[in-house]
């Protein structure tokens, strides 16, 4: 088959969705199909821009004589019209759904903002139903689809890692590791704040490319302001190999985004490395695989609670090792496998 993977992207930004597309493409090619990746620009900084990009996606034309199947994963890429279209839904525009009324609301509460919100929801209600099938990457996304759009997903397909063999058990070093795209919703700042309350001598290592320079500078300022330069390392972008090495030798991992839809690749990378993961009760889909006390900790979203949780793990090395083993076993228990994903998306 000739398969088009359709996504939206903010230029210069790479995150989990881009990794998901790359991984899916690689696995589909391994099955002998041909792939083309279509990445449409997306800028959501104003209501008008959001609506313009929705319209743009709707006006994109893909040739059914050369493309057999379209797989779309994010808003508004799934508006691209195509008869044989399936969705592996990672994101709707959450800011008009459950994030409306929170600090993450992006449209103003004005008639213009309210109107744009209504148009997004109406368009989702209309165009999502065009898809031949809708799979989601987590139960949370499926639940949102049902709650706000009254659409039943055809199933949840948990995204596996592209190269799980990169990750494996190593030493239990003297640092907690948090690799992720640096952006406010990932709450690296909260992790830095937590280190102010830590009394033991472990360190925090943060890695990942900042969405924009200002956030990187802000985090560096915080580290310097609190005098944490010796205990908090901000590495910026690192290679997959370096990330795997740091994860394998970490004491444990952190993954503390705000209200994330899925468990996140960080969680999988940690589990493949036999490390427990600390997350927060408001981190979203992480609790679909992280179980408090079994393969990680689920904590209150405060710097103090996070510090206390890290101290607790640090104080009991044997328990932490046991949690790491349980984390690895979790992968099998949830059937996080590419075969399962491809069987559903490709119908073979």
């Amino acid at each position: 088959m000739n398969i088009a993977l359709v996504n939206v992207k903010a230029p210069f930004v790479r995150g989990g969705a881009e990794y998901l597309i790359d991984s899916l493409a690689a696995k589909i090619v391994e099955r002998g199909h041909r792939i083309v990746k279509i990445e449409l620009p997306f800028n959501w900084n104003t209501p008008q821009n959001v609506l313009s990009h929705m319209l743009a996606c709707r006006l994109i034309r893909l040739d059914p004589e050369t493309i057999d199947l379209v797989i779309a994963i994010k808003f508004p890429a799934y508006y691209v019209p195509f008869a044989n279209k399936k969705l592996w839904l990672v994101h709707q525009l959450r800011q008009v759904y459950e994030l409306w009324g929170t600090n993450y609301q992006i449209f103003p509460s004005t008639p213009e903002g309210e109107g744009a919100r209504a148009m997004v929801i109406a368009a989702d209600n209309l165009y999502l139903r065009e898809a031949k099938a809708i799979y989601t990457n987590s139960r949370i996304v499926a639940g949102r689809l049902k709650r706000f759009n009254d659409i039943d997903a055809d199933g949840v397909l948990y995204p596996p890692l592209l190269n799980p063999e990169l990750f494996g058990p190593g030493e239990f070093g003297d640092y907690f590791f948090y690799p992720s795209r640096m952006t406010t919703i990932k709450r690296q700042e909260l992790a830095i704040e937590a280190m102010r309350h830590v009394r033991s001598n472990f360190k925090l290592v943060l890695a990942g490319k900042a969405d924009h320079d200002a956030y990187d500078k802000h985090l560096r300022y915080k580290i310097a302001h609190y005098g944490l330069e010796d205990r908090v390392k901000l590495l910026g972008f690192i290679s997959d190999e370096e990330k795997a090495r740091l994860m394998s030798n970490a004491y444990a991992a952190l993954y503390i985004p705000f209200d994330e839809d899925s468990y996140g690749y960080v969680t999988l990378e940690a589990f493949h490395s036999h490390k427990p993961v600390i997350t927060l009760i408001d981190s979203g889909g992480t609790d679909e695989v992280i179980e408090d006390g079994l393969n990680g900790l689920i904590l209150q979203p405060s710097a103090e609670a996070l510090a206390e949780g890290m101290e607790r793990l640090w104080a009991d090395r044997a328990a932490t090792r046991a949690m790491g083993e349980a984390a690895f076993e979790t992968l099998d228990r949830h059937g996080i496998r590419w075969e399962h994903v491809l069987e559903n998306l490709l119908g073979e």
């Binding site: 230029p11 449409l40 800028n43 313009s52 893909l62 040739d63 200002a214």
Partner: protein, 323 residues
């Protein structure tokens, strides 16, 4: 600066401007810029061109995720429809030329995007003239350098020709087959994968499988080797001002480059580096026989061509498009 390079492609068919974005991005990165490439699907054959161009007009490439994008370099007229206050447009293909020479109002979508550009460059006089006709006098000539320079190396010449024809050109194919018969030289036709079967049928029907064979344009290493060891390269593609690395690769490999008299390349390459040939098999035959008997002429052409190619660099392209 944060620079976006935008171009278009037809999924599972071809890129509108294959291979141009990457070397330009590489040289800009070497100069310290941050570069991202945006490739948009565009079906040039579709009746919905207007809708697709309208879609491009709706995309905002000025900011995103807290970043300001300082420049947009659009390759091709369709990508040129994208909006940006600091936009450069580089037009290189026959499609670009056609967009501005269509009758009536058909060129309007292309024209509007191009009129917004701060810098406007074209790969040939043909495109530049079309733009000047529309009052865009600021357009300058900018032919693409080699996208894969390392593939083309001066090597001892063997007894074969590398041939580049326009798509679907039975007359020119017949002309070249006749030339091959008369000179008894082997011919390697550089073709897109989708043209291969048709060419093979033609060669078979002519009973010339011993003298003619297709060469897949996407097999860059094989094309580079064929050009590097060719006796001469024949370029009869009159349909487009830029059709890839083969003509310039011939100059880099110091091989005689024979251009049909109606090719647009004649306005780009210096007369000292090329041989212009009448569009007739006997003319090509005579020219090739003449070159066989005059090795000194071959070397002169090779030296002039190599001098010209050496000055065509991606640094120059970056400088011109960002000026």
């Amino acid at each position: 600066m944060k620079i976006i390079i935008a171009t278009t492609f037809m999924p599972f068919r071809h890129e509108a401007h294959p291979g141009l974005a990457e070397p330009l991005a590489d040289v800009l990165r070497e100069q310290g810029h941050e570069v991202d490439i945006v490739r948009l699907p565009f079906d040039a054959d579709s009746e919905s061109q207007l809708e697709q161009i309208f879609a491009f007009r709706c995309f905002d490439l000025t900011t995103g995720s807290g970043n300001i994008f300082d420049r947009l370099i659009a390759i091709g007229w369709a990508a040129g429809a994208l909006r940006h206050p600091a936009k450069s447009i580089w037009l290189t293909t026959s499609s670009d030329q056609a967009a501005f020479t269509m009758s009536g109002e058909s060129h309007r979508p292309a024209e509007r995007g191009v009129r917004e550009a701060k810098r406007l460059a074209a790969a040939s006089d043909g495109i530049a003239s079309a733009l000047r006709t529309l009052g865009m006098d600021e357009v300058s000539l900018l032919y693409p350098p080699l996208t894969d320079a390392a593939a083309f190396v001066p090597k001892p010449a063997q007894d074969h020709l590398v041939i580049k024809l326009p798509q679907d050109s039975p007359d020119r194919t017949a002309l070249i087959l006749e030339t091959l018969q008369e000179t008894r030289m082997r011919g390697m036709f550089v073709v897109r994968p989708e043209e291969r079967a048709s060419l093979c049928d033609t060669i078979q029907a002519a009973g010339m499988t011993d003298l003619a064979q297709p060469l897949n344009v996407t097999d860059r290493a094989a094309v580079g080797e064929a050009v590097s060891t060719a006796f001469a390269v024949l370029h009869l593609d009159s349909s487009t001002p830029y059709s890839g690395d083969v003509p310039l690769g011939a100059l880099r490999a110091r091989k005689p480059l024979l251009l049909a008299e109606d090719t647009l390349l004649r306005s780009v390459f210096p007369a000292s580096a090329i041989l212009t040939v009448k569009l007739a098999s006997h003319a090509f035959t005579e020219t090739l026989k003449g070159l066989r008997d005059d090795r000194q002429r071959c070397e002169q052409l090779g030296a002039a061509g190599a001098r010209f190619e050496k000055n065509m660099t991606w640094e120059q392209v970056a400088k011109r498009l960002l000026a």
